[in-house]
């Protein structure tokens, strides 16, 4: 069996294993596992969404926690005013994410490279400070959500409901991204990273393609925030803090940039590691920080050493190498 066929098995096996977790948790009588893995899957959803811009388009957005915050507060603020209808909340969440992503994206995409990193970070901080200073919605202390989103026949009332909803959405997203990667849009999007000038010469608008990817990514991240708010029944500015943006990037880098299932593995590894370290010492960041630094140092050649082990076709890695002269790969 060559490595391509082997890769094809990864997705079904992964989702079957994930589907077994609630049952295992029931058997060993540890309901905490469901809550924990629901959080893992939500972060996996956000990381997969971030991977659309970071992995496919090579745009390092350091401000994706902003969309998680938008999703959280869409639930929080609407239920604060007694609107717990899930459809309305989801609609508002998506609409707000689209509007914000278009506005922020159009400004951020005027820059590239390091400028883009810093500006996305600055915008998410702006939203963070906005929510901190808005005392009617809890300010620094956050906003309790007393009623979970109600979709009529389905209510996100407990951890296991959120778990299954996230599981289904993540599966759909993974299948969608599998298609997207090789669709005409996905191909052009990846081309904008490798050689924007040539894409421009072919008659595509690089800006529009990048902006569409940014909006798509923002909306899906917003839905992750929507689920997170229902899981924790809480919307708080710390969900928007830049640590979360950084952690999402770490998850992608652990799992493999530009791979569809990579961020899911990355989220699992990162959050399980974090949980283990937290159980071990309160100063877990003292260990986690250097691990992240080490991952960055080890991954600086796009994990060439790992790729050599798996002998993976280098399509994912190629998306990251810029070719300033514009010769074809």
């Amino acid at each position: 069996m060559n490595s391509r066929n082997w890769m094809r098995l990864v997705l079904p096996v992964l989702f079957i294993v994930l589907a077994a977790i609630p049952f295992v948790a029931q058997v060993v009588d540890e309901p905490f596992y469901v809550t924990f893995f629901a959080r893992v899957l939500i972060y996996a959803l956000a990381a997969c969404a971030l991977n659309i811009v970071l992995g496919f388009a090579g745009l390092v957005s350091f401000g994706h926690a902003m969309f998680i915050g938008l999703g959280c507060y869409a639930v929080g603020i609407l239920s604060h005013y007694g609107i717990s209808n899930g459809w309305i909340q989801l609609f508002v969440c998506i609409a707000v994410c689209i509007v914000v992503a278009v506005l922020v994206g159009s400004v951020c995409l005027r820059t590239s490279g390091i400028g883009f990193i810093m500006i996305t970070l600055a915008f998410s901080q702006m939203f963070y400070f906005l929510m901190v200073s808005l005392t009617p919605f809890g300010g620094d202390d956050g906003l309790n959500i007393y009623e979970s989103s109600n979709f009529g026949w389905f209510e996100l009332s407990g951890s296991s409901e959120v778990y299954w909803a996230t599981w289904a959405l993540l599966l759909m997203l993974a299948l969608f991204l599998n298609r997207l990667r090789t669709s005409p849009f996905g191909m052009v999007l990846r081309a904008t990273h490798i050689n924007p000038r040539r894409v421009d010469a072919f008659g595509y608008s690089v800006f529009r393609i990048q902006l569409s990817a940014y909006v798509l990514s923002g909306v899906i991240t917003g839905i992750a925030g929507f689920l997170l708010a229902n899981l924790t029944a809480f919307a708080v500015p710390s969900y928007i803090a830049w640590h979360l943006s950084g952690e999402l990037i770490v998850m992608i880098v652990i799992g493999g940039i530009g791979l569809v299932t990579g961020p899911i593995f990355g989220a699992i590894v990162f959050l399980v590691l974090e949980e283990v370290l937290k159980g071990w010492t309160t100063h877990w960041m003292l260990v986690m920080g250097p691990i992240i630094t080490f991952i960055a140092l080890a991954g600086r050649n796009q994990f060439a050493w790992l790729k050599a082990i798996f002998n993976r076709p280098s399509t994912a890695g190629a998306a990251l190498k810029t070719r300033p002269n514009g010769e074809l790969p």
Binding site: L54, V60, F62, V107, R110, T111, G113, I114, G115, I117, M118, I119, L121, A122, F123, Q125, M126, F129, L130, V132, S133, L134, T135, P136, W242, H243, G246, I249, V250, V253, H283, W284, M285, L286, M288, G289, P290, I291, I292, T293, F294, I295, A296, L297, G299, R300, N301, L320
Partner: protein, 306 residues
């Protein structure tokens, strides 16, 4: 509007701007010559604040604590350069951001580990703890001192970059690093000293800010974000841009927080004006950044390279 109050707010803004300049000049130079983005710069600021506060409380000498803070930050900067920055100079910004993000987590936790979670208490020496009258309003001497030190450092940086051999190499290095190396200058040493200089300036900013802001873990993070906004608005790699943008952003931020709720109260109910005003004030500098980028994507001052 009270003019002496306005003046003291303006001076507060200037003093914040000076601190921001100390931080962002190092950041922008390190980026300009080494193409390296250092998120741990805020941690160097924190190291300066903690070492300065601890050494002042231990020795009682303000000058000694200044020296100790700058030296500590520079040494930490050197270690970071050697272990983390150097292997990443030629690599994607993504990995630089990630590596320094990890460092930042490490330093924040290290500060909690050593000094605890609560703000660390630090006093101002008695000689400079008084206040002077400016146009009939009292203003703390210490804050004036920060402005003076900042202006001196800004002048020193200008002299260093424009008039000395070191500065000439730095300027040449930002545009033609490999050519400078070919001509026989030790670019490696140049990078190391520049990194140490930037780190030392961040440490100086931290120890100066210590007595007026609270010295605690994570104190570098919000300032780092402001410094990033400054270098984006000022033009990445440009010292003059950093100076201009630092003052502009600090003054706008300070005046916005002080006056925006009051101005809005003229057109809406006081309670609403207070909420909206403070929310808007916290967004003001980011809106300024978006505005600048919409017209000048490269920032206000474009360095020769970009």
């Amino acid at each position: 509007m009270n003019s002496s109050l306005f003046l003291s707010q303006l001076l507060n803004g200037l003093q914040l701007g000076v601190l921001l300049f100390l931080l962002s000049s190092g950041l922008t130079l390190i980026f300009g010559i080494m193409n390296f983005i250092n998120l741990a710069h805020g941690s160097l600021y924190m190291v300066g604040a903690f070492v300065g506060a601890a050494s002042y409380n231990a020795s009682g000498s303000f000058l000694f604590s200044l020296f100790a803070a700058v030296a500590a930050a520079a040494i930490v900067g050197l270690v970071i350069e050697h272990l983390v920055a150097r292997p990443l100079y030629r690599h994607d910004h993504l990995y630089q951001v990630l590596a320094t993000f990890g460092l930042m987590m490490f330093f924040n936790e290290l500060a909690i580990f050593i000094w605890g979670n609560r703000p660390y208490f630090v006093t101002i020496p008695e000689v400079i703890s008084g206040s002077v009258e400016i146009l009939g309003a009292p203003y703390p001497v210490y804050r004036l001192l920060i402005i003076v030190v900042g202006v001196l450092v800004a002048f020193g940086a200008w002299y260093l970059i424009q008039k000395t051999r070191f500065g000439m190499l730095v300027r040449a290095g930002t545009t033609h690093a490999s050519m400078v190396s070919v001509l026989g200058a030790n670019v490696d040493l140049l990078k190391k000293s520049l990194f140490m200089l930037g780190a030392g300036l961040a440490g100086l900013a931290g120890t100066l800010a210590g007595p007026i802001l609270s010295v605690q873990s994570g104190m570098g993070d919000p300032v780092l974000i402001l410094a990033l906004v400054v270098i984006v608005v000022g033009g990445i790699g440009s010292i003059r841009g950093a100076l201009l943008a630092a003052i502009l952003i600090a003054v706008i931020d300070t005046l916005g927080r002080a006056y925006l709720p009051g101005i809005l109260a003229l057109v809406m109910a006081p309670a609403a004006a207070n909420t909206v005003g403070s929310a808007l004030a916290s967004m003001l500098i980011y809106l300024l950044m978006a505005f600048v980028l919409a017209f000048k994507p490269q920032g206000l001052m474009v360095s020769a390279k970009r």
